[in-house]
């Protein structure tokens, strides 16, 4: 990847689906499949996804109005929450009942809507924490420096490389708490990449990011695909979705209401209905883009 | 009741011993000689015990210990009713005899209904086990021994438990409100409980025994003042600084230590009594009896709790309090003066705690510098059981804990009766952290 400021032009992947486009359509090469996943909080059904497939090596956007259950769905897929019923699998392996840390070890990494940079660790320590299979993380081995020294140096090189790409290398010895909101988002993404994931799930990667940083964040996401990873992200900014997503899944009231190509899906009446209710004459990008209109309250 | 009182007093002495041990550490640091008296290298094991009449130590009673190999030793019981005899062998039996002619007139060794392994009569066999020691207690009573019917014991315990539970409730609803509105796990609540008792004691000292009702009234008012002062002087400034919850919890621990030892500074390490603590017991039916203080105490608790419930349910401030417990930011956004309500919560919580402290002083009975600390975990247990932050839950939780604590001593040694409540506390936190009345979404 180049570290120049020239924006990367997205190369859209096409022909991801099989057959007629409808909610829950089958994909040629799905990496993640969810079936009948339902999560209730008391009387409220937060997520009720009948069937959905995420295409491999593509950028998929998960959109929907506030309270549509996107973050809850993320939590369910990654083991941070347990659904009342349903099955879901990653690379053909069932993830039902698999704890979050094991899901992560299988190559499915997620970030959080509210950034979770570890404030009182240095940026470099944050990065090193992302690396998997470290001998030095075992209790007894950790006491013996020589057992993990070599691996630690390797990790540091790898981390420094990533930090340079994310333009955080100058901050590597600072505490993460001293970073700006946007830098923390970058750090969280870079830290996720330290695990060498197959599928990266980003929960609102653009929320709270300084506009000056958005372009580089977009480039980073596009580069993930270039490097062979799959990206699934939640986003409210429709301009960004149109710009980089290869495929869009729309959720409303816990259900998948539409799927498709980013330009086509915006014309779907179900989507317009979900987003706008009665304001059907307004352009979607204006309504949901966060620059023109102030952002509504965070969904939980 | 006698044994309960006895156990409490023994525990009281123990706490005094704790103080002494801590002190000894501070001054000597190193090995404190265990028993300079009769236990020595030749007689390394010991038989020890207490002679007590209705919980009062009986001094100067002759105790004779005899054993194998012609071993005989005779000692008098000390001022504290205790005796210690060094014996040469362990894993051996000794005969311990209390010379009844040395007892004051009109009393004799009686059976104790509450301990299964109680000494029968004045001659007793003591087995010195592998630990090298054995303890035996002689309980002295009026004339012949008596047994209490099981059902009477159950009723007595139940009443006692309700009484204890109501007293706990007064303390725990305050703790619960404070937790609900501020998020503080207030360890210093124990000292707010003690405050009521200590203030009453101090005021009685000034105005005389006859002015007890006045002293109690003033002490309650002072308790309310303490709540206001703590909020204004400590908690409000910390709120303004946006101090974290863990920090606040540790601050409350520090505050608890400081106030606790301040009490010790003023009233000393011993136990003091309020006037009327030894009031006459009135026989209700069978062996079930209650003192007037017990009855007044229960009546006042119920009155105060009803008044509190009315306040919380119907007044504007009460409603605001519940709104804040439910959702502080929403309450604030809808125009409730959160800071003002929290100040009132501290005042009301402290007032109720102070009153419960006065009742606790009669229930124990006695005033001690750490008396609040003795029931702090029970208060936490009651609050948690009912659901942290829900005042009505705390009320129910308190009654459950009170009855559990008093009732459990029917089945387990009375010095383990608090264990049951603590186990419940842990169990609740593990399996239903939202408590009986709490809603699940609150947690997490």
């Amino acid at each position: 990847m180049s570290s120049s400021d020239k924006p990367t032009t997205p190369v859209k992947s096409t022909g991801l689906h099989v057959g007629e486009i409808k909610p829950g359509v089958a994909k040629k090469d799905p990496i993640l499949i969810a079936d009948g996943v339902r999560r209730q909080f008391g009387g409220l059904t937060a997520v009720d996804v009948a069937h959905v497939e995420i295409p491999r090596n593509a950028i998929t956007a998960l959109i929907g109005p506030n309270g549509a259950g996107k973050t809850t769905f993320f939590n369910l897929l990654t083991g941070f929450d347990i659904p009342n019923e349903g099955t879901w699998s990653f690379n053909g392996k069932s993830l039902a009942g698999v704890p979050a840390f094991k899901v992560a070890r299988m190559g499915l990494i997620r970030t959080f809507q509210l950034t979770k940079a570890l404030g009182l660790l240095t940026v470099m320590d944050n990065m090193k924490l992302g690396s998997t299979q470290q001998t030095g993380e075992k209790l007894w081995a950790s006491v013996f420096h020589f057992l993990w020294k070599k691996k630690d140096v390797e990790i540091e090189t790898q981390a420094l490389d990533l930090l340079t790409r994310f333009k955080l290398d100058a901050k590597k010895d600072d505490y993460a708490a001293s970073l700006s909101g946007g830098q923390r988002k970058l750090l969280e993404m870079a830290r996720a990449l330290m695990t060498k994931p197959e599928l990266v799930m980003l929960d609102e990667p653009m929320a709270g990011v300084n506009p000056a940083l958005t372009q580089s964040l977009l480039d980073h996401i596009l580069n993930l695909k270039k490097e062979g990873m799959t990206v699934l992200f939640v986003e409210h900014d429709m301009h960004m979705v149109r710009h980089i997503a290869d495929w869009v899944i729309v959720m409303a009231e816990g259900k998948v209401v539409a799927e498709g190509d980013p330009y086509e899906v915006m014309k779907n009446p179900a989507v317009i209905d979900a987003y706008l209710g009665s304001h059907q004459d307004v352009d979607l990008g204006t309504v949901t883009g966060r620059i023109t209109l102030p952002k509504q309250g965070k969904e939980k | 009741m006698e044994l309960v009182a006895t156990t409490r007093r023994t525990m009281g002495r123990l706490f005094a011993a704790v103080g002494a041990v801590v002190l000894a550490f501070g001054v000597l640091g190193l090995a404190t000689p265990a028993h300079a008296d009769i236990v020595n290298p030749e007689m390394p094991f010991k038989v020890s015990g207490n002679v007590q009449n209705n919980g009062e130590p009986v001094a100067g009673v002759t105790i004779t210990v005899t054993g194998g190999g012609g071993f005989t030793a005779t000692v008098p019981s000390g001022e504290d009713g205790k005796f210690v005899v060094g014996v040469p062998e362990k894993n051996a039996d000794y005969t311990v005899t209390l010379d009844e002619t040395t007892l004051p007139d009109g009393i004799a060794v009686v059976d104790n209904p509450n301990t299964p392994d109680f000494v029968e009569g004045n001659v007793q066999t003591a087995s010195v086990g592998p630990g090298g020691r054995v303890a035996m207690n002689f309980f002295i009573g009026q004339g012949e021994r008596h047994t209490v019917a099981w059902i009477d014991q159950v009723v007595q315990r139940l009443i006692s438990g309700v009484n204890f539970g109501l007293m706990l409730a007064l303390a725990s609803v305050g703790l619960s409100l404070i937790y609900g509105t501020t998020g503080i796990s207030n360890f210093a609540h124990a000292e707010m409980v003690t405050f009521g008792a200590v203030a009453t004691f101090g005021l009685v000292h000034v105005f005389g025994d006859a002015a007890l009702p006045l002293a109690i009234g003033l002490a309650i008012a002072l308790s309310a003042g303490l709540g206001w002062a703590l909020d204004a002087g400590l908690w409000r400034p910390l709120r303004k600084r946006n101090t974290g919850l863990v920090q606040l919890m540790i601050v409350s621990i520090g505050l608890s230590l400081a106030i606790r030892y301040l009490y010790q500074f003023f009233i000393g390490g011993g136990t003091e009594q309020l006037p009327g603590a030894d009031s006459e017991k009135i026989q209700l039916f069978g062996e079930v009896s209650l003192s007037i203080v017990d009855m007044v105490s229960m009546g006042l608790s119920i009155l105060l709790i009803v008044a509190f419930a009315w306040w919380l349910t119907y007044t504007k401030v009460g409603k605001a309090t519940r709104a804040i417990s439910d959702n502080p930011s929403l309450a604030s956004a809808s125009g409730i003066d959160v800071d003002g309500v929290i100040r009132i919560v501290w005042i009301v919580g402290s007032l109720l705690a102070g009153f419960s402290g006065i009742l606790w002083a009669y229930f124990r009975p006695g005033i001690r510098w750490d008396m609040g600390g003795q029931i702090l975990l029970l208060i936490f247990a009651a609050t948690t059981l009912g659901g942290l932050g829900t005042a009505y839950g705390a009320l129910i939780g308190s009654l459950v804990v009170g009855i559990l604590v008093e009732g459990s001593s029917l089945f387990i040694p009375s010095d383990l009766k608090y264990v049951g409540a603590l186990v419940v506390l842990i169990g609740i936190l593990l399996f239903r952290p939202q408590g009986i009345l709490g809603r699940k979404e609150r947690v997490g």
Binding site: K116, V143 | T10, L30, T32, A34, R133, L429, P433
Partner: protein
Amino acid sequence: MDVLGILSSTASFILDPTTMAYALAGLGLAVHFGFAGLLNMGMAGFMALGAYGYAIGILTFGLPWYLAAFVGIGASIVFALILGIPTLRLRGDYLAIVTIAAAEIIRLFLLTSAFVDVTGSADGLSGFNGPGGTVTNPIAGAGGFNDSNPIPDGEYGFPPFLDDERTWYLRIVGGIILAVGVYFVWRLVNSPWGRVIKGIREDEEAVRSLGKNVFAYKMQALIIGGVFGALGGLMLAFSTNVNSGVYVTSLTFFLWTALLLGGAATVFGPLVGSAIFWVLQAFLGLLFPALAKAGLLPFDSIQAAQIRFILIGVALVLLVVFRPQGIFGNKKELTFVK
């Protein structure tokens, strides 16, 4: 007023076994709270298990002292497991209440007269260190801790550290345990393992999302800290009798004060904190009564000796509010995160 006497008694506390016991338990608390963010308010329970496990191992099971020491340590590990399996999933303040309640349960079981044969009830246990200790016990007898002392009888050192061979042996044993412990913890927290538990302290969800088994790490931290607590209790038991009255919640709170004094997220903080804590305790405990006796304070000497306990509480409040990183800690190292 005997100023020199006070200063000399005070100075001796730097090398006192009690100070070392506090430092060991404080080191455990540092692992728990300072590094892993676990709010353990039941350290007194871990210490009680270390001390009683050792004493009961000798007196009831007739074990040699060095094996009995492992009974104490083993008991603390079992306690950590029993406590940790259900509670480590709980929120921080819940963990605090559960640990404090569990420690009280242990104390009540040690205190009850139901098990007097084993625990000595309110009298506690004594005589397990063998001859030269407080009370002779045939079982402990030869081969007890005191007997393992290779130092010939006599007085060694110079004032204020002029003491007999037993005191010096205690200091040396304590010093060795402490040195090894500090090195071990220093290694741990500066390793990738330490990185993970510090990450958990900051945000366990984030660490979980990176594929770390957060529960296992917290359990390991709980056990390691607990073992240091047991070592602290062991150190107390080496030096004197065991009594359940020592292992009260106040002990835990004093440990917290000592820990926060030195800095919770530092390896040397507990050492420095304990030394300051006990030196100040001893100093004020002698100074105030002396001042009272000299008529410089308007109360009697027993009251004067109590003032220092009030000051501990005040110090704890001030520390947490104004200097949460401790006297020597780095401000950036520990602000309370949760």
